[in-house]
Symmetry: T
């Protein structure tokens, strides 16, 4: 077994009409459909759309990190 691993990070933007935390969870769920080793996330930016003077969507840009298989 190797004494070291390599990880990859991808950048995704999750969104939610409810909350910033929900936007994070939505993005993790979406990524987990195709990536099975997700270890961590890191928030890069928090933005949102406003419609008729109300927050329509929170949008959280985040890096998602996972171990490369067999690395």
């Amino acid at each position: 077994m190797s004494d070291h691993h390599t990880y990859k990070t991808i950048e995704v933007v999750g969104s939610s009409p409810q909350s910033t935390d929900d936007a994070i969870r939505n993005a993790i769920h979406e990524c987990a459909k195709t990536i099975h080793n997700i270890n961590w996330f890191e928030v890069v930016e928090t933005r949102g759309h406003v419609v008729d003077g109300e927050v329509a969507h929170f949008q959280v840009t985040m890096k998602v990190g996972f171990r490369i298989d067999n690395s």
Copy 2:
């Protein structure tokens, strides 16, 4: 009709004793009283006041963007 628009961003600080998301919503509501074309916001900084060892207010500094009328 013009093929381009110009937007302006202002910086505001919303506050809330409940949550960071609530601080964002409070600031958007306050801005919407006088600005009717708000399109987006972007969080610049998240801070808070602490009183007697408890978070008394979450304070979220954010840029709020809106289209300039007739631009």
Copy 3:
């Protein structure tokens, strides 16, 4: 009485399985056990651990500021 005060900031990382706001509150409570003049906090970074495709912990790195006694 002096006409000026000196403050110190420390950096802590709060965590919570529930929410980012809860991670902030947890860190403030932990700090308040030993520091009795906490005035403000400032979020430095928001990260989290992911286990089995779900957010296991939100982790919020924050500066916590308090007045130095008798300063």
Copy 4:
């Protein structure tokens, strides 16, 4: 006459389907409709919208600086 002046900067987003330079000029023209002492601009961010695989609009966020009247 005062030996010092005070300036204000506002942040605007200019857009153009043609070029980034054109987006800058469009924003300056829009600002010049209501502000008559503009002295400088500074680019903060360059983004754009993409439609059908083509750049539909260049969007340049910029600070625009001008002297406050009678300052």
Copy 5:
């Protein structure tokens, strides 16, 4: 009475032939002519003009924060 307030920050550039602190004070005085709730400032950048090998003006770019009336 509301349990939360909203603040606005504007960016101004103060100048002074004497000192950086004086440039800050000049900008606050200028802002206070039209804004009556100024609470804080934050220095963004310190620059200056040089003429004949001497500092002719210190120029301090700063954010100035104030509470929005009735917020």
Copy 6:
């Protein structure tokens, strides 16, 4: 239909001997060959190669954002 979407951003470097705008357009065209939902780009860095005292290539590093299918 879901009430939220997830987006992904990738980072690419476009180049052009003509102009920075052309480097952006070249990168968008290259990405559009394999990605059909591109929504926006954001410039991260502008560099260039110099040969014999002339700009040989403008190189624009940019984030390109697109919606994940079925998200």
Copy 7:
């Protein structure tokens, strides 16, 4: 032949119990298993795990750049 190329950068985290340079080399080797045009890397962050008061692993986050085939 085209007069311009397009490059892509991905972000990976290499690790090594020996050294930061070794962590970089490990990540490049791992990437080279599946990408055959790697041209450069750029260090984004250097961190590490500590176990029993010793550095257990150096972890280097880096952008790795390569030319897109046929671009």
Copy 8:
């Protein structure tokens, strides 16, 4: 004697109604009451409180570095 030393930095906020330099000196004096190896400081942020349109306090956030005893 060791061929290397270890230093620690702490972050403090000095204040003064007079000047930014005075705020720095006040913070150094306060730190020197309990730390006897201070070597350097580095300004992180300059802010201030405004009361009745006048600068009431300059506040300078600074890192203060000192050698750890016997290191």
Copy 9:
């Protein structure tokens, strides 16, 4: 048992005449004399002293993170 922990980070500067990695290890060893839960470090800045045209000391500023006891 609590479902969450709180961590603290301190900033130290390690030095070494040999290498940057050695400066990191020296700082971790020094910290481990008084802190028994160190989990991670993060490099903030790499500098060095030069004497007679040779690197006399590498100096690595780093954040060192550890769990607060009983948190």
Copy 10:
């Protein structure tokens, strides 16, 4: 022949009434009068002067890199 080279970067500000790209080319031409090994440039900041509501000059601050002779 050495297996390594040393490069130097200088910072210049190019200007042009026409375009940002032209400001870059003007600065490269000016540098090439006295430096014969220029390899790359990197844009640091884009600003401009405004006169009578029109962009009078684009000003591009850039690092220019070149190999030190015989290094």
Copy 11:
């Protein structure tokens, strides 16, 4: 006469036992001994040396900009 100029910026560190403003003036005076077209400066960093619990020297790192002769 050319319709554009090229400027160069150099980075210097001024020092003074009296004040930060004095450190800036000292650096400008030193530069003006050999450069006759200095136009502006921009503060990059403010640090200082501490000896026996007192500020021994303020040190201001600054960019100094001047027009290249005949450009």
Copy 12:
């Protein structure tokens, strides 16, 4: 003797096929050929070239500081 000194910093890029530390030392040696008062360096960026899936050169961009003669 003057009670203050002025320092200058230049930015150089050292390279080495062996290690990042070696790239730093190579750059210091190269600078020391023409500058005799070098006091410190500070790493700005770490990059590298990759050839055939191996690190061909580590490239370290660094500021090098030295005292101006007779200042």
